[in-house]
Amino acid sequence: MKKLGSLFRDLTKDFRFTIAFVILLALLFLAILSFFSPYHPQRMYQVPRGRPPSWEHPLGTNWLGQDVFWQLTFAVRNSLLIAVITSLISRIIAIFVGMVAGYRGGLVDRILMIIGDTTMVLPSLVVLIVVSTILREWVRHLTNLGLLLAFFSWAWDARVIRSQILSLREREFTFVAILSGMRTTKLVLKQYLPHVLPVILTTLINNMSWAIGMEITLAYLGLGIDPTVPTIGTMLQTAIYRQALFLRLWWWLLTPIITSILLFIALYWLSVVVSEYLDPRTRFQRIGLR
């Protein structure tokens, strides 16, 4: 616990971390707030439509008679949920594949890497569009979209983890660990995982922002999850589809745009700060030391 405290203090020395942390905390607060919403997220005409921001409706209401603020709380929650599902599942696949391929080597490695490379060279956006068009009904659920996105994001990290394991395997402490009677699973998890963890952590954050971006892209094209379920993507899509600008309901359109910009900045800075913290060499590069 003390260690965590000092880690946090170290990180807050970088203003980017502080900003990112505050933004993420605020968004997390919004996501939690959604559980106390007075309105149903999907039902329409619950409030007067097209009202500008006021005390009663902090971010106004939209043309469908929904309160934009409370819609946003649901949207943030659902978008974060997709991001977490995608990144966690793809990380689990990546760790498993990378470690097995790296430590086992041989034919297993060859097969796993061929599968990984294949998913890597596929143009993911095109395939995602095609797949979500074909599996329209299946992709409408949050978790299913998360799984689909996870399938396209494990390969790169599996490769990185594999190459790390390949180099760790030849180091003397591996031989010492084998001589101390460690079983393979234990050896990989206890001796190698700490070395691989920094990579996993930074790519996890990057993957989260990729997943959110992908969800927005798909929703904008009218694909992806059920458009009545609020996510940042579907909020944007509905606002554009219902001609929010033409109706002069700028708060309806601007809310998801600004939220997504803030979210991307926060996640990007967080990943940069974390990777700089874990690899001091990049920190030296930034301040111009050699």
């Binding site: 031989f175 010492v176 660990a177 084998i178 001589l179 101390s180 009677g181 206890k190 700490p194």
Partner: protein
Amino acid sequence: MEKLIEVTNLTKIFSIGTLLFKDKFAAVEEVSFYIRPAEIFTLAGESGCGKTTTAKIILGFEEQTEGEIFFEEKSMASWKRKSAEFLQKVQAVFQNPFESFNPLRTVDDIFLETVYNFQMAQDKNRATELIDDKLKAVGLSFQEIYGRYPSELSGGQLQRASIARALITNPSLLVADEPVSMVDASLRMSIVNLFTKLRDTMKLSILYITHDLATAYYLSDRIAIMFRGNIVEMGPSEEVLMKPKHPYTQLLRDSIPEADPHKKWKGKIAVFDSEYEEYLREGCKFAGRCPVVMEKCKKEIPREVLVDGILVKCHQYSGKVK
């Protein structure tokens, strides 16, 4: 038991090059030796002569191409490698003390791991006692390593700790792969002395791998000189190093500078063939550097012959003794 471990005709072939231009060379070629219980046996030779590969094959980290190893008169095939039973009897110390411990885990972690994996102790108190015992034998204590990361200890401390870790299971064979080449001169002596003490008190056999003839002479009972995958001379270390028979051993011995101010360094610097060429050479692999090279050496591989109880692999002797 006469021979603790016996290695017969051990050969390891690596292939180099791409698919079309593949060349095979033997990193270890028909190496045979044995180690008696409570004996220090040295494998000496220059870098790239196959001594570490031999050690790795014995430890089971590499698979031999040909040849067999008998441990306690049982073939290695019948020992399950990496089984607790085998690892309990054969342990190893490596060259670089900073590499022998995982930099992201504390040093005591791997000690406790060893104790629990081999079921040497059930609870933590017994385990620490046992570890402390072994660390005391190398001049350390559990307090000194507890909760420390490898970067917080000195190279000498780490090397002694890694010896102590190898001793936890009370092995009968310790493979020491250049254990003193990374520590300073004073520590080198104390580690070398520790090895002789372990041989005398614990009846431990040591396969000592080195390129440093001084410690080899001081420490070992018997010695084998390796060159490009072959053992060129093998016998009691006193005999081999004081009265070298093979031209390579003579060359090695002559290259140790003597501490005499009146003696000028008069080594002839010859241009050597590359390592690669030497490995692929027909006939005696030393022919390119040998001062007494004969026509025969370039064509025929010399046989191993016994000269005054010393095994020599050289054409100079193959004619004289049957």
